[in-house]
């Protein structure tokens, strides 16, 4: 055995080493995403200058030539450098941890600063919603599976399919309309922005209460759009686990129902959803662009929609990069969690 190992070249050994391989894979993904986002962002019709020219012509009734000189003096951008030069410039800065400076939105401010100022808001609103939706979905899914073919199951299943079929934008509009305008249960100012004016972030009760008040409606949109999926997946997983022999044997062993439901049925049935949870974080971050725009919620989603309308290339690239990193990290956490939950897929090399 040891002789075999010695005979292998170090390249081979590095390639076969699980953690090295995983980290290398993640960096490859990161590079692909960064490159694609660099190219796609620039492939959008119109560059920052063009967009500003149109805006100036519209808002200040300038002629095209006047607007163009004004925009050029305002932005001071050189977009005429060859694409590959721009790309290697960007990549070089990125390696040094520099995401560049915003072109338009907050001219001269570093993208890192802008993005990290907004990121906690999105992570909070999306994370809390996801946690609620996931937990509730697991619970309702198991309930439906245990009571399968009953009226309750029919109601839950159809309800899930229905709420899952409505797009998140439509949910946002419906909720604003119903809760804010028709029933007037939620004051409209709680559906704009992420904090009431005058409240400073900090560990005060006032802040936390206000935070959750502003989170409530956009959070509800996230929950409504994802809940059905979790529930239906959990229902079908539970039904299949309930048919497994070890559940019958557990009943034969006289185990209390609670133990069977949690450690035998629940744990096995929720395994597939753990991976899905990591993937859904990426989806929700993407989905937040539209939702935060509707609710003027001060997160990266809103920043993204602003950056797109102004063609602020560095900000767009920065957000795409941060989103990718978030997804990569959450997938890695899901992998670890999965290994901890399911001993069958633990890496053999790590044991003994």
């Amino acid at each position: 055995m040891s002789k075999q190992l010695e005979n292998k070249s170090w390249v081979e050994r590095v390639l076969k080493h699980y953690i090295t391989r995983t980290v290398a894979k993640k960096f490859l993904i990161l590079w692909v995403v960064v490159t694609l986002s660099f190219l796609i962002v620039r492939a959008l019709p119109g560059n920052p200058v063009d967009i500003m020219v149109i805006n100036l012509m519209d808002s200040q009734n300038l002629s095209e030539d006047e607007a163009r000189t004004r925009a050029a003096s305002l932005l001071r951008l050189d977009l005429n450098a060859p694409l590959h030069e721009q790309y290697f410039d960007f990549l070089g800065n990125l390696v040094r941890g520099d995401l560049g400076e915003s072109y338009v939105l907050a001219r001269g401010k570093s993208v890192t600063e802008i993005v990290f100022q907004r990121l906690p808001w999105t992570l909070f609103s999306v994370g809390v919603s996801l946690l609620i939706s996931f937990t509730l979905g697991m619970f309702l899914g198991m309930l439906a599976a245990y009571k399968r073919n009953s009226l309750l199951d029919q109601v839950l299943t159809n309800f899930s399919a229905m709420i899952g079929a409505v797009p998140n934008t439509l949910w946002a509009i419906i909720l604003v309309l119903l809760l804010g305008v028709v029933w007037k249960v939620v004051p409209l100012n709680l559906m704009r922005g992420s904090l009431s004016p005058g409240i400073k972030p900090g560990f005060t009760l006032e802040f936390v209460v206000d935070l959750f008040k502003h989170w409530a409606v956009p959070g509800l949109v996230y929950v409504l759009t994802t809940l059905g999926g979790w529930m239906l997946a959990m229902r079908s997983n539970t039904v299949s686990v309930l048919g497994d022999d070890y559940v019958t044997v557990a009943r034969a062993r006289g185990l209390p129902d609670f133990r069977i439901i949690t450690a035998y049925v629940g744990r096995n049935a929720s395994l597939p959803s753990v991976t899905a949870l990591a993937i859904s974080i990426g989806f929700l971050l993407g989905g937040s662009t539209v939702i935060e725009f509707i609710f003027v919620y001060q997160g990266v989603g809103l920043l993204m929609s602003q950056a797109i309308t102004k063609r602020d290339y560095p900000v767009m690239q920065g957000i795409l990069l941060v989103t990718t990193i978030t997804v990569i990290i959450s997938t890695a956490i899901a992998d670890l969690l999965y290994g901890w939950l399911d001993p069958r897929i633990r890496i053999q090399g790590n044991e003994e």
Binding site: D245, A263, R344
Partner: protein, 349 residues
């Protein structure tokens, strides 16, 4: 261990047990008016073809039937005995237990080793935790005492205790898992152990090993064994008495020697001629013509008559009762049992 006398009170008395399955076409009677005594300390084999209702009987004894099944009639009187085998006077009808009592009855009074032992363990829990779960559910030993007890049982079923105790189920082979399940079945010292096809799906050497383990256990411990199988040779080796099941009823019941030497029911005779042996010529190995009856649309009279070479008019009209034949301990449900052996056994010895 000696074969217990028929005068000793039984561990479990099953009376008029009828189990129905609800299916689209109607209700299927998988077990019909079954009467059976599981005697104290005996080993009883239930044999029959697939679909004869053997497994349903076993599951019914634990009241572990799927939700589509319903126990239509019947009672199952369970009796407890002290260590010396004397009746303690505690007896109850398993059918009348409530959910909680039933939970405590399972595994403590009657444990069941399942056909599919490969999947009998929760894949995400270690064997030690699954022993712990079972023990905790019944207020049994915990911690170090439980580990000692489990090691003792692993020794009995010829497993390496150190290795098994800390393993996950997927780290053990099929034969090992089957033996772990047997050890788990014996954890609470149950007076009755039901084995449903314990060796099916295992290779022949592992089967041999499990059989040796079971025989060994029978010699060392005192419990009633109900052994569900379609394998006659295993039944012959392990059982004191053999019950042949056909279409949800017992058609022949007798001690193992009588049943093999002197079978009375044409179906039992058919089963035995279907087993090849080293000494019979292969032309004498025959299968039973036809197939088990459709349980929804069962034939009239004796359910075996469409496949029976001896069927006469009476067989089509009336279902024969299970009555004593050559002696009180050897019962058969056949109108023509007196002719059966002579006409059907190829070379009577």
């Amino acid at each position: 261990m000696s074969i217990p006398s028929q005068n000793h009170p039984s561990t479990l008395s099953i009376r008029n047990l009828t189990i129905e399955y609800q299916v689209k076409r109607g209700a299927v009677q998988a077990v019909r008016n079954l009467n059976l005594e599981i005697r104290y300390g005996e080993s009883l084999a239930l044999i029959g073809e697939s679909g004869s209702g053997k497994t349903t009987i076993g599951m019914g004894m634990m009241r572990l039937l799927p939700s589509t099944a319903r126990i239509a009639t019947g009672e199952m009187i369970f009796r407890r005995f002290d260590k010396a085998g004397q009746a303690t006077g505690v007896e109850f009808d398993v059918m009348k237990l409530n959910e909680r009592e039933l939970r405590l009855f399972r595994w403590k009074d009657g444990a069941m080793v399942f056909q599919a032992a490969l999947n009998a363990f929760n894949p995400v829990l270690k064997i030690r935790d699954q022993f712990g779960d079972t023990a905790r559910a019944h207020g049994y030993l915990q911690g170090e005492a439980l580990r000692k007890r489990a090691y003792e049982l692993f020794g009995l079923v010829r497993l390496d205790p150190e290795r098994v105790w800390n393993s996950y189920p997927h780290e053990l082979s099929g034969g090992m898992r089957q033996r772990v399940l047997i050890a788990l079945g014996l954890l609470l010292d149950p007076p009755m152990l039901i084995l449903d096809e314990p060796t099916t799906a295992l290779d022949i050497l592992t089967q041999r090993n499990i059989m040796d383990v079971l025989k060994d256990l029978r010699g060392k411990l005192n419990f009633s064994l109900v052994f569900i199988s379609h394998d006659l040779s295993l039944a012959a080796e392990l059982a004191d008495r053999i019950a042949t099941v056909y279409a949800g009823r017992i058609v022949e019941l007798g001690n193992v020697y009588d049943t093999f030497q002197n079978p009375q029911h044409p179906y039992t005779i058919g089963l035995m001629s279907a087993v090849p042996t080293l000494t019979t010529h292969r032309d004498h190995v025959s299968s039973i013509p036809g197939s088990p009856p459709d349980l929804i649309d069962m034939p009239s009279g004796c359910k075996f008559h469409p496949r029976c070479p001896l069927a006469v008019e009476q067989c089509k009209r009336e279902e024969p009762p299970l009555i004593p034949t050559t002696d009180d301990e050897h019962l058969a449900a056949c109108w023509r049992w007196m002719d059966a052996k002579q006409k059907l056994m190829p070379n009577p010895k």
